[in-house]
Symmetry: C2
Subunit: 213 residues, 2 copies
């Protein structure tokens, strides 16, 4: 269930290496936090998270400094995971890479339902690392005729944003997301009806990604 894998090496806030027991507690705290956020939403309280991890509140604050920093950490881990998916699929070089990526995004987001409110805003550094990868997947798909030229990178971004509304509503929704992707992808194929509204501007996307809270 807990999709770990691409987690950074456990270090204290100042960057020094953690003692084995401390590293263990940190790992348990991260897992507990994901679970608690998924169940209670973003205002799950710190005390519950610590309790679920089997540690005291003091330990939580020694490891993460603030609740906000924990959420940032979780978001960054998630974005790193997505970046990894994209890179793997770029390496494969198939025209279906983009849609496979979107399907993996949906799955990963479903496992982190609780923090979606913070996913696409205030993480410039990670976002700007992901964007060119998506652009490349899109370019490949377009050059192989899987997606039509009219579709832009920002269309794909908006499609990823749109998953939040589906995922946050219920936990039976991972499937609903895949169906939603079926429809959106069908709309992006060559030969589908032309789009009548302009694509979102980069300026607007940037403004969205910069927003805090």
């Amino acid at each position: 269930m807990a999709t770990l894998g691409s987690v950074a090496a456990p270090t204290a806030l100042d960057g020094t290496r953690l003692r084995r027991d401390a590293a263990d507690n940190q790992r348990r705290l991260l897992e507990a936090a994901v679970a608690e956020f998924n169940e209670q939403g973003m205002d799950a309280c710190v005390e519950q998270i610590a309790q679920r991890a089997g540690v005291g509140i003091g330990t939580f604050y020694r490891r993460f400094g603030t609740k906000d920093a924990l959420v940032d950490r979780l978001v960054e881990d998630l974005l790193t995971e997505l970046t990894g998916s994209a890179q793997r699929l770029i390496a494969a070089g198939e025209g279906a890479g983009l849609e496979l990526f979107l399907r993996e995004v949906a799955t990963a987001l479903a496992h982190h339902r609780g923090i979606l409110a913070r996913l696409w805003c205030g993480h410039q550094e990670h976002s700007s690392r992901l964007r060119p990868l998506v652009a490349e997947l899109l370019a490949t798909a377009q050059s192989q005729g899987a997606i039509r030229a009219e579709v832009t990178g920002n269309d794909v971004s908006v499609l990823m944003w749109s998953l939040r509304g589906i995922l946050e509503l219920t936990d039976a929704s991972a499937l609903a997301c895949q169906r939603h992707l079926d429809i959106a992808l069908a709309g992006m194929r060559p030969g589908a009806e032309p789009l009548t509204h302009p694509a979102m501007s980069d300026r607007a996307r940037l403004k969205a990604e910069q927003r805090r809270r």
Copy 2:
């Protein structure tokens, strides 16, 4: 800006008619609440709302009882507005009714960005009034060849849910929603690529709509 119109006649909590000054304050409170929620999100505080409306906190509580009740009221007004749109478009009887409805939904939701978190859950009565209307718009569209038979009412529901993720991110996003609808509608046309995943079940949709908070 403030799209009023279909607001219920101003009454006190017990249903008796309001004094003129009180009715005025209620209207100002509702407008202030929408604005405040749009700017600060769902945890805009009551004191700010009252201040923005130019009344005391006591007045707020006399009018609405609790903050939660206010949000419910706003959500119900919004759902009523959507129901009105649907009925008007059904009366017109065009195959394009469904897409016009979806476009109006996007616009209405954009003006109520702040309360989207509470829109599609915990309002069984209003939701169950809207659902058959959407089903009828869909049936008309399908019978006139505007949308293919494969598409279900729940697909349309999920599409409406998906707008939240786009709208909550930024205020430049009303346009982004229209573009997203362009793509999804293109994917729902006859002749578009077949869908590979099953549509969401009624049971799952119901479970989502029943969930509180």
